[in-house]
């Protein structure tokens, strides 16, 4: 549901598997290129979406949900891009566990996301997780 009347929505549904994360990155690269983003900001969005999808894929593998799908929904507004990543990868358990980047690469992924986009929220949904990221276009 677009939050503003002028927003355009692009939605992509793909298998929650490692080989499809690159497809999501390509799609969001196209979407972000339509925004008034700098080259670096487009890269930021691509990396953040890649990381969010990677986390979904890792949880799907852990929870035996590799047959599920990820829905990538982006809402293009004049001043911001809102990206929703909805998975059915099962429960992520307790967040905030300590661990190093090698054992818990998703910690590094989560760090990257927070550094790359302006807002990020992660909420459990029925059978999975909903990650919402917002990146604002700087008005120059």
């Amino acid at each position: 549901m677009p939050s503003s009347e002028n927003a355009a929505c692009v939605e992509l549904k793909f298998p929650c598997k490692p080989e499809f994360v690159g497809v999501a990155r390509l799609a969001i690269l196209g979407v972000a290129s339509r925004m008034k983003f700098s080259y670096d900001e487009v890269e930021d969005v691509r990396l953040a979406v890649g990381e969010a999808c990677t986390t979904s894929v890792e949880w799907a593998e852990r929870n035996g949900k590799t047959g599920s799908d990820i829905t990538l929904r982006s809402e293009i507004d004049a001043d911001k891009l809102v990206v929703d990543i909805l998975d059915e990868a099962g429960d992520r358990g307790d967040d905030g566990r300590a661990g190093d980047a090698e054992q818990e690469p998703e910690n590094l992924g989560a760090l990257l996301i927070t550094l790359l986009v302006d807002e990020v929220t992660v909420v459990p949904r029925n059978g999975g997780t909903h990650v919402r990221m917002v990146k604002y276009a700087r008005t120059r």
Partner: protein, 114 residues
Amino acid sequence: METRTVESELPIIELEGEVDVYTAPQLKQQMISLLESGAKELVVDLTKVDYLDSTALGVLIGGLKRMRERDGNMALVCPSPRIRRVFEITGLDKIFDIFNTPEEATESMGKETE
């Protein structure tokens, strides 16, 4: 992702393309083989890499850790500002020795072992 291991006194892993959740396991496998063959030093060349994510960073961190455990070291070659930025924003540029050319990387290794 393409990988190529250059057979020399100092092993160099050359990566090409996207190193992500799909392809990083290949890199991990290659590092494990090198470690099993007794390598203490390694150069990972990211010159031809156009995308690198946290999964790849995790594998590189693991490799560095293992090399250092055996008093060795690992150096990265990363001339691309876009790829280098991923190391910078995560602070990993302070942990890895990052060089612009394979020559600089291998030279740094030589100095450390002498």
